[in-house]
Symmetry: C2
Subunit: 403 residues, 2 copies
C-alpha cells in the first residue's frame, strides 16, 4: 500500500514484481506481466506475477467450448478434484465433471486462483524480490477488476478469443459480472449466481469484523507473520466463524442443529461447546486456517468491499452493460440473506434497461447463500437448461447441445 522505496515497494510507474511462486500443487502456473505489467485499479503496475489455474476437459479445435469458473472468497482452482491440502472433494465437484451439469466431456473448464490468493497465484505471502521477504501488507490492494484482468491474460494465453460461458457464485458472480461488463466481446454467456453489483453496507460490516479479528491477533504482527512460528490462527478462525454464519440461513441452522447438544445429555454450565452449532463453527474455523493465508483473507475481502460496478458510470448500473450481446442467466436463492434476491433483481433491472438477453430465477431453498455449493436439484436443472440452450445458439455439438 505504501509507495516509498523504503519498504521496497515500487514507485508509481515502476512495476511491482512478485518473485515467481513455486509450488508442487497440481495444475498449471503461468508468469504474466513480465513484458507488459498489469495496471491495477489502484494505478499501480504489477508484473511479473504468477497465476495458478486448473483445467478440466478438452478445448475443442475451434476453442469455442471453454467455460471459465470464477471461485468465491475462500475457494480456489480445485473445482472438481480432491483439494491438495485438505484432501476433501473439490468445491464444485457435484457440478463440474464428466456427465455432470457442467459436463467436462463437452466443455473445457478453466478456474484461476484469484490475484491476492494463496493457492499458487501471487498474493501477500509471496516474496518481494526487492526485499527478499514476503510482501505482507506491502502487496498492492487488488480489486475484482484486477482479478478479472489477470484471468483475461490466462484466457488469451490459452488462445481463446471468446469464452462460451463465465460462471460463478458469490464473489465468483462479481467476477462474472465484471467479465460481461468489461470484456463483453469475450463472453458468450454469463451466469452470476447469488451475486450483487456492489457490496452492501451489511456485507462490508461483516468483512470488517473478520479483518479486525485477524488484525487483533498479536500473531498477525502487522501482516509480517511469515517468519514467525505461527500466524494469526485464532483471529483467522474467528473471522471464518463469523463469516460462516452468514453463509447459512437461520432456518437451515435451526433444521441442522437447533439447540441440539454435542455429545452430552445436558448443558454443562460452562463455556465448552455444549451445542452442536458451537462445535460445528469451531471446526469450520480451525480447519480453515490449515488451508488459507490470513493476509489473503484481508485482501480478498477488501476486493469484494470495493466492488461497485455502477460507480464508474455515475451510479448508473445499466451503463455498465450498454449494448451487451452477452446472454445472462442470474440465479438467486430465497433464503440467502448475504446476497439476497433483491441484489440480483437490481442487476436484472439494469440489464432490462439496456435490452440485454437475461433469464432470472429465484430458487426456493432453505440452504442460504451456500446453496450454490450444495446439491440443489432445481438449481442444477436451471443451469443445465440454460447451458443447453446457449450451446445450441453457439453451435456447439456434444451432449450439451442435445436436448
Amino acid at each position: 500500500m505504501a509507495n516509498s522505496e523504503d519498504n521496497g515497494v515500487a514507485n508509481a510507474g515502476e512495476a511491482i514484481a512478485v518473485e515467481p511462486v513455486v509450488t508442487d500443487l497440481p495444475g498449471h502456473q503461468l508468469v504474466l506481466g513480465a513484458d507488459e505489467p498489469l495496471r491495477l485499479a489502484s494505478g499501480q503496475l504489477l508484473g511479473p506475477f504468477t497465476v495458478a489455474y486448473q483445467t478440466y476437459g478438452t478445448l475443442n479445435a475451434e476453442k469455442s467450448n471453454a467455460i471459465l469458473v470464477c471461485h468465491a472468497l475462500t475457494g480456489d482452482q480445485y473445482v472438481s478434484e480432491p483439494h491438495p491440502v485438505t484432501g476433501r472433494a473439490g468445491w464444485w465437484s457435484g457440478v463440474v465433471g464428466a456427465g455432470l451439469t457442467i459436463d467436462t466431456d463437452d466443455y473445457f473448464v478453466i478456474c484461476v486462483n484469484v490475484l491476492g490468493g494463496c493457492m499458487g497465484t501471487a498474493g501477500p505471502k509471496d516474496i518481494n524480490p526487492k526485499t527478499g521477504t514476503p510482501f505482507g501488507l506491502d502487496f498492492p490492494v487488488i480489486t475484482i477488476t484486477d482479478m478479472v484482468a489477470a484471468q483475461k491474460r490466462v484466457v488469451e494465453h490459452l488462445g481463446i478469443e471468446k469464452l462460451f460461458a463465465v460462471i460463478g457464485g458469490s464473489m465468483g458472480a462479481m467476477q462474472t459480472l465484471e467479465w460481461a461488463s468489461r470484456y463483453p466481446e469475450m463472453v458468450f454467456c454469463a451466469i452470476p449466481i447469488a451475486g450483487a453489483a456492489r457490496h452492501s453496507a451489511q456485507n462490508i460490516a461483516f468483512h470488517e469484523v473478520g479483518r479486525q479479528a485477524i488484525m487483533a491477533d498479536p500473531s498477525w504482527h502487522g501482516g509480517d507473520y511469515y517468519s514467525q512460528d505461527t500466524g494469526p490462527r485464532r483471529g483467522l478462525s474467528v473471522a471464518r466463524m463469523a463469516a460462516h454464519i452468514t453463509y447459512l440461513s437461520d432456518s437451515a441452522l435451526h433444521t441442522k442443529f437447533g439447540r441440539n447438544l454435542q455429545d452430552r445429555q445436558a448443558i454443562t454450565f460452562g463455556f465448552d461447546a455444549d451445542f452442536q452449532i458451537e462445535s460445528y463453527l469451531r471446526h469450520q474455523g480451525s480447519t480453515f486456517v490449515e488451508r488459507f493465508d490470513a493476509n489473503s483473507y484481508l485482501y480478498i475481502t477488501r476486493a469484494m468491499d470495493y466492488f461497485d460496478m455502477a460507480a464508474e458510470y455515475g451510479d448508473n448500473l445499466p451503463a455498465a452493460f450498454k449494448n451487451s450481446q452477452v446472454r445472462f442467466c442470474l440465479v438467486s436463492f430465497t433464503s440467502d440473506w448475504l446476497f439476497p434476491t433483491s441484489e440480483s433483481r437490481q442487476i436484472v433491472y439494469a440489464l432490462n434497461a439496456v435490452a440485454a438477453s437475461v433469464s432470472f430465477v429465484e430458487i426456493e431453498t432453505e440452504s442460504g447463500h451456500d446453496a450454490f455449493l450444495l446439491e440443489e436439484p432445481e438449481f442444477h436443472r436451471i443451469l443445465a437448461g440454460f447451458l443447453r440452450g446457449a450451446a445450441e445458439q453457439r453451435g456447439l455439438n456434444g451432449k450439451a447441445a442435445t436436448p
Copy 2:
C-alpha cells in the same frame, strides 16, 4: 465452574460467597443470600452476593405501582439518567421518565443489574473471599432463571407483593417471560419486546463467535486478566462489532451508511476504515470496552444461549404458562432478524393455547432489533395504550389511568 476446593470454589452444598461489591456508582446496592443462599439452575448455591439496582419515581402506599424494567445483554440499571461511566443518556431515557410513556410521575420503576453483570451486581470480576482474588471463570455460570430469582429478592426486599408490570426487550424479554412463567402471582402484566422463548441456533452461533473472539485474545489470560495491565480489549471489541451488526437491519445499514466513505473522497486501496460503516463499527467496539467487563460478556451471552423455557416442560411451551392470569403484551419489529416476529408468534400461540390474556403487535420499522431502544412512535403508542388499560384494570389512579 470447577467444583473443587483447590481453586477456592465451594463444594456442592456449600454456598459460593462473593465479597460485597463496593462501588461509588449511583443507585442502590443490597447484599442478598447471606441467610438463605440462592440456589442456581446449575445446582450451586450463591450467597452472600451483591445486587445493584436503580429506581425512578415513587412507590405508592399500596405498593401497587411498581414496574420492573429488565435490561438487555449490555444494558444496565441506568435506564433514565446519564450513564455514570460514559455520561451518555440512559438506554431508555426516551421511554422512562416524568411525562414519558412509562411515566415516573405515576409509576415506581425498578431496574436491577443482572447477576453476572459488571455494574455493581456480583459477577466474574468480583472477589472470591476464599482466594482474595477475582473469580474470573470460577464464578458460577448463571441463567436467565437465576437473574430473575435475584430480582425477585430485590422486589421482596422493597415489600412489593405484586409488580404492576414487568417489561424488557431482547434479553429483557427473556427475563420478562421468565417472571411471568415462574412467579405469575407477582406479575400483573408482562411486556416482552423483541424476545423469544428460547435462543435460536443462529443466535447461539453469533454469541459463540463473540466469546471465541474474547478467548482468542491473549490478554484474556483464561479469564484471569484483572491483575494484568490490560484485559482482552481487542477481543471484546471484535465481539461487540459482530454483535452490533445483528442489532441493525440490512436496510437500516443501507439507509444510514450505504457505501458512503468516511472523511475521504475516494477509496484508499488499503485497510483503513474507508467506509463509514467500518468507522462506525470500530467506534462501537472501542467505546464498549470502556464500560463492560469481558468475562461478564461471556457469562451473560451464555445465560441467553441456555434460555429455553419449554425445556423443563418436555418442550411443551404452553405448559410454562398454564392457568396464567398475567396480561401479556408482546411486541416485535418487522426488520428484526435477530429476534424475528416468528419467535414472538410462537409465544403468542403458546399463550393462546392456555387461554391467557395476550395482545401482540408487530411494528413496521426499518430499525431492526434495536428498534426497542429508539424513537419508534408506534411502539410508544402501543406501550402507552396497553399500560393505560392495564392500569385501569389494576385500579391505579394517576395520569396513567386517565385516558
